[in-house]
């Protein structure tokens, strides 16, 4: 079966629309336009090392980590419930869990805007109870909430799919040997589910650290994240060189975190990135 040529259109396409554009980003990040033409420079990366930009990077990583941890804490039990055999209509439950994820994430974020406002439903309810209104929208917490809401399924589903595949006889064996529920979890279930946990962490952390929409809509322009910084450089300031340099840094952060994650990964099916 010599059908290699079938993939040629794809390879050409990938070269044109994936490889070349990324090369351009690299090119822009390393050059600057002066009166006598282009010049190679590391100035854009140096500029990113200034405290104001590092603070943005630090805040992005901090909020993304927060969201990831909350997703893990909320998501792991949910994955166990979905994977366990406690319920009859499991298919439907998994399905229901996935549905909101298919809704446009802008709308999901927007939904929280309407809830968290001062005149929104939550505060209306509070004042109905006779409590003073809370300042919910435009806080760091609101941004984290938006991230958790949007990315929780990315944590639950990988864990769920790993838990489902765990050999039940292993658990039974452990129980036969006298392990109590907690020990079984600590010594058997959790270690076996680690690949799912790790891919869950990556899948939540990645979009959370790069978002510019959630911080814009729920943060009220107060919490500049690295995604906002990049968007501003390209669409507002027009400094493509600096914008490209930040993008390169961000790609590096992402690739390193995936690299670290997959290093711990044992069950690799041989088609991975590393």
């Amino acid at each position: 079966m010599k059908k290699n040529w079938l993939s040629y259109p794809y390879l050409v396409w990938m070269f044109l629309f994936i490889f070349l554009p990324l090369l351009l980003v690299l090119f822009y990040s390393l050059t600057t336009r002066t009166e006598d033409g282009l010049r190679f420079t590391l100035a854009h990366f140096q500029r990113f090392m200034e405290p104001i930009y590092l603070r943005v990077l630090f805040r992005s990583v901090k909020l993304a980590l927060f969201s990831t941890v909350i997703c893990l804490i909320l998501g792991y039990p949910m994955a166990m419930i979905l994977a366990g055999n406690g319920f009859k209509r499991k298919q439907v439950m998994v399905f229901l869990f996935v549905v909101p994820m298919w809704m446009n994430f802008l709308l999901r974020t927007y939904a929280w805007m309407t809830l968290l406002e001062k005149t929104g439903l939550i505060n209306t309810f509070l004042s109905w109870l006779g409590l003073p209104p809370l300042n919910l929208l435009y806080t760091e917490e609101a941004v984290v909430l938006g991230m958790v809401y949007n990315f929780l399924p990315f944590m639950v589903l990988p864990i769920y799919s790993v838990l489902r595949k765990i050999d039940k006889s292993l658990i039974e064996a452990a129980e036969d040997l006298g392990a109590d529920g907690f020990t079984v979890f600590r010594k058997v279930i959790f270690p076996l589910s680690l690949p799912g946990v790790l891919s869950g962490i990556t899948m939540v952390f990645m979009p959370a650290v790069t978002t510019f929409v959630i911080s814009r809509l729920l943060g009220g322009g107060q919490f500049t994240l690295i995604g906002n910084l990049i968007e501003q450089q390209f669409l507002l300031v027009g400094d493509w060189n600096f914008g490209s340099a930040i993008s390169m840094v961000m790609m590096l952060v992402i690739l390193v975190s995936i690299g670290v994650m997959s290093k711990y990964e044992k069950e690799n099916e041989g088609s991975g990135l590393f």
Partner: protein
Amino acid sequence: MSKKSRLLLAAVLLTAVALTLSSCGRDKRVVLNVYNWGDYIDESVIDLFEKTYNIKVNYDTFSTNEDMYVKIKSGGADYDVLFPSDYTIERMIKEDMLHKLDFNNIPNYKYIADRFKNLDYDPENEYSVPYMWGTVGILYNKTMVDEPVTSWRILWDEKYSKQILMLDSQRDSIGVALKMLGYDMNTRNLEELEAAKQALIQQKPLVLAYVGDDVKDKMVAGEAALAVVWSGDAVFMKRENPDLEYALPKEGSNLWVDAMVIPKTSKHKAEAELFINFMCDPEIAFKNADYIGYSSPHTEVVIMLDPELVADKAAYPSEEDLVNYDIFKDLGDYLKVYDRIWTEVKSH
């Protein structure tokens, strides 16, 4: 392949082909790409223009001057008519991005009041036709603020912590801080700018959010007590919520003019001038001014409008009210300084 999936595929392909054909084959009219601020036109005016001249209008919106400028500068978009503000027009003229207008094609230009002609950003008035003008001031909710609002300083008052909305626009917000400190809005003095930066950083904990067009929705809904707004929006909001009032701070503020220009990338200059002329037609200009609530530089419109509105200092302040009101100037290289200040404030 099962019959069903074959049918499905065929159907998908057919719709795709049909939709593409319909989108390219349908229209042979000239297409005019118009790029304006959001919520800044009575949309029925576009239909009227399309019908009158048999020209299709592709109407698109932006939310800040900088946004628009970068889009045009990068060359990724080809618009025919733009509505930038004074200082951006100045910058675009300097950078040779605008066509000189042929005023023979814009006879309605005669209706524009003289005080809006030959302003600093376009001294010979060769490139632009004023569309709307106004001021920047403070909008406040009378149920939440019971003291008289006369100064920018109220935006630094801790009593109103988390009830203040600032504009997410570097020129406007830095300008407010500069005026509060008694400086010129176009300053290039680094010490004054540093002071403005410190003031904004100090103010940040009190600010509920840095907003754009959403300021209207927020203030009308009573989400905040005080907001920095453009005067035209203030008129609109006062109409929607009578608790709101607009104040012109005594330290002075920004006076701005948005005008229509044609970028060099335009391929339909004659049609674009036709459009600009149409916008200056008294009936049309009235429709727009009436709908969006901004102040019109059009002499006929001011006569046609509700006298109560024209008497409103928020909408039509007299020239005496506007002592100390500066028009923004292009900052040239100092833009980078402003930009950095704003990034620092926002990322603090």
